[in-house]
Symmetry: C2
């Protein structure tokens, strides 16, 4: 399904069951925004309001949001909204003047990391954070070779799109990029994954390209969610370091407590990366992202280049991100992700006993990947039907993985046991009617 | 001064006259944010509040902002602050759901462009907009060769930093990038500049690199501000098009009415670009940017690639940018830039009669470049002294140009005649004491 670069769960023009008003919006989008944008679902959703785990359409219907990891502390969380509004009204300017807010935030955020990771650089998007990581890795190692997994997604700048094979065959990979098989559920996954990384290192070197980095999303979201056993990343990280490269943990999706076990996905694996990229949930929707770096890894870049990102680390971004961090910590959302995520997984495993289309489930906290199979084989068409039937039942999720057969479940971290029950009831209703 | 990639007007650690409190902030910055960040001024400014054209330090001192083009409609403009706060509290999500806000904005913004420029794609930063322009230009032309001016700045992604020579010798240019002499004040500037572009085209082709684009900031800000005679860009644009490339107008600095003569800098030159990148003032500090494109130029990219920017075009970004556009239009800020900018230039020219260090002045609306010279020769040291003396007099500007001898004057567009008088009085005070 995704092998040709088609997007899983994309709206196809002319299909679906849109109201005349929504058809008009779709036409306005095509005219004003052009051909590169995509909508979700066979029948796109026209949303106007969000609150907590709920999204509302223009007719006031409520949808349970079991998908959006940006609004991680809940849509329009009042503490975050207030911080954005308050700081916007007072001072919004940049990092070439002294101000306290960005420093207060940097120190609070760095305190959640192992002490080896001592610097924070601020960007506006996860793409910019990974792009900066590329520049720093090249400066530090003298190499350019990057290793990514086979259906990875790391961002949309030219450089980072070139190491995001999930964007499809229409987007060229960089000549200095090598892809390796994603982890599997094999009991030997650590050694297997490291063998792939070592083969990529060897191939880079055979072409005269010095390895610079291995970069992975530490929950392998777009590869289909691979999280166990915790620790399996260690041999691959050892391999890239032995080759003179660095290890970059892309925490744009797993970070900020989502895995339940730890604030950061790499901590589940018992290792300390050289760089850690952050994004999506960092500002609960405000465009703020960043890169956390070992000082010795930043030294070569810092000695020859300066970095300024006009909006990156501005006072409103810092105040908003601080408010998000306060909510994550104050509402104990990592604990909630662990407890509610475990109940979610348990509920799905219970359903799987009655519904054989529910294949393997992989989960860490509130990041769950549920395989959909027919006679044990991946079934992307059935997956798409389930996603769209759930949308009709006003429950929002999507699908992922190279074969498009993995339900991607990653709700706001304020998801409750009652929300899990709501999901499971709707899900069983959909499964019954298949 | 800038020839080694040093930043004009950068704080040098250990110098200046900082309070113990500000010294502590500087130390915290170095520890938490690392070596790649820079502060302005010999003695950095510690700012806590902004309102209109005024910025305030922690002791309540007011500084006249004659520099910041991001807060283009004035720091913390209440209409913009209200829009951000209102939309943040209601719905902040992305472009994969239908919502009206981004479409309303796209249509309102596109209405300010010639009809040939029909599509808007939304990003978070000007860097991302130029990076997307690179991807689209390559897809459209089948080439990769980019031509930029000798001290250009277009952004900080790896690809765009590689076409931003103003970042200095520590940041490599791309192998597919050629630099051309910046425009001069010669009466033959159009032909001269086009000859440089043609030579770059020839050199690209001689190396087997197909030209993809000429990209210029249409006021040549980092080259030292070159704006006259309006129209001089036409022969260079004809040259790149004749070679199969496209022309990208980087309007991150001149756009949104700053030049007074037109909403967009390219309009002064009587031409219609293939793509137009937007940034800094678009959200008055909220991280929002975009790329405006001729539909036929986007076709090749759109046919093979999809584009999604998680925060780009989110509902808050769109509502904030709409509020900025409403203020630009409702407060007639383009007219204000023209009228007040002309008075500003007249005042500087009057001062130049008494102060021979004031060399050539180049100006379009509220974008002014004032050369500082000694015996007619560029004097970066004197320029730095003036910038820092003005900072001591609580007037904020900076310097630019490859030799660091051009005062860069680009205040918020709400700058008034009284603000001009304030500046000129402070400026003459500084000049008298030199």
């Amino acid at each position: 399904m995704n092998t040709e670069g088609q997007m899983v769960n994309a709206y196809v023009a002319g299909r679906g069951n849109l109201s005349p008003e929504d058809q008009a919006l779709v036409a306005r989008r095509a005219k004003a925004m052009g051909p590169a944008y995509r909508l979700f679902y066979e029948t796109p959703v026209h949303l106007v309001r969000g609150e907590g785990v709920w999204l509302y359409d223009k007719d006031g219907n409520a949808y349970l949001d079991t998908y959006n990891n940006v609004a991680s502390v809940g849509h329009c969380h009042p503490h975050v909204v207030a911080a954005t509004a308050r700081q916007s009204a007072v001072f919004a300017s940049h990092t070439r003047y002294l101000h306290d807010t960005v420093l207060d935030y940097a120190e609070a955020l760095l305190a959640t990391f192992p002490s080896e990771l001592g610097h924070l650089m601020m960007t506006c998007t996860g793409s910019e954070a990974n792009d900066l990581a590329y520049r720093i890795a090249c400066a530090q190692t003298g190499g350019t070779g990057f290793i990514v997994t086979e259906n990875a997604y790391h961002g949309v700048t030219h450089t980072i799109a070139g190491m995001s094979p999930s964007l499809g065959a229409g987007v060229n990979l960089g000549q200095h990029v090598r892809i390796v098989p994603a982890p599997t559920s094999s009991s030997d996954v650590g050694a297997e994954f490291a063998r792939g990384v070592q083969a990529a290192i060897d191939d880079l070197q055979r072409h005269g390209i010095k390895p610079a980095a291995l970069i992975v999303d530490t929950v392998f979201s777009s590869d289909g969610v691979f999280v166990d056993p915790a620790g399996f990343l260690q041999p691959a990280v050892a391999a890239i370091r032995a080759a003179g490269g660095v290890f970059i943990a892309d925490e744009v999706q797993p970070g900020f407590g989502r895995t339940g076990a730890a604030m950061w996905g790499f901590q589940r694996h018992g290792l300390i990366p050289d760089m850690v990229s952050l994004g999506k949930p960092m500002g609960n929707g405000y465009p703020v992202a960043g890169l956390v770096i070992r000082p010795e890894v930043l030294a070569a870049f810092g000695a020859k280049a300066r970095y300024f990102n006009t909006f990156g680390g501005n006072a409103v971004a810092a105040a908003t991100a601080m408010a998000v961090l306060e909510v994550v910590q104050g509402e104990a959302l990592q604990d909630n992700a662990r407890v509610v995520g475990a109940a979610f997984a348990e509920g799905l495993r219970a359903l799987a006993k009655s519904y054989p289309c529910l294949g393997e489930l992989r989960a860490a906290g509130l990041f769950l990947g549920q395989d959909i199979v027919t006679d044990g084989a991946p079934d992307a068409a059935l997956t798409g039907r389930i996603v769209n039937d759930l949308r009709a039942a006003r429950v929002l999720i999507s699908a992922t993985g190279p074969l498009g057969h993995v339900l991607k479940i990653r709700p706001p971290l304020v998801f409750s046991q009652a929300n899990v029950d709501h999901f499971l009831t709707a899900f069983e209703g959909v499964l019954k009617r298949l």
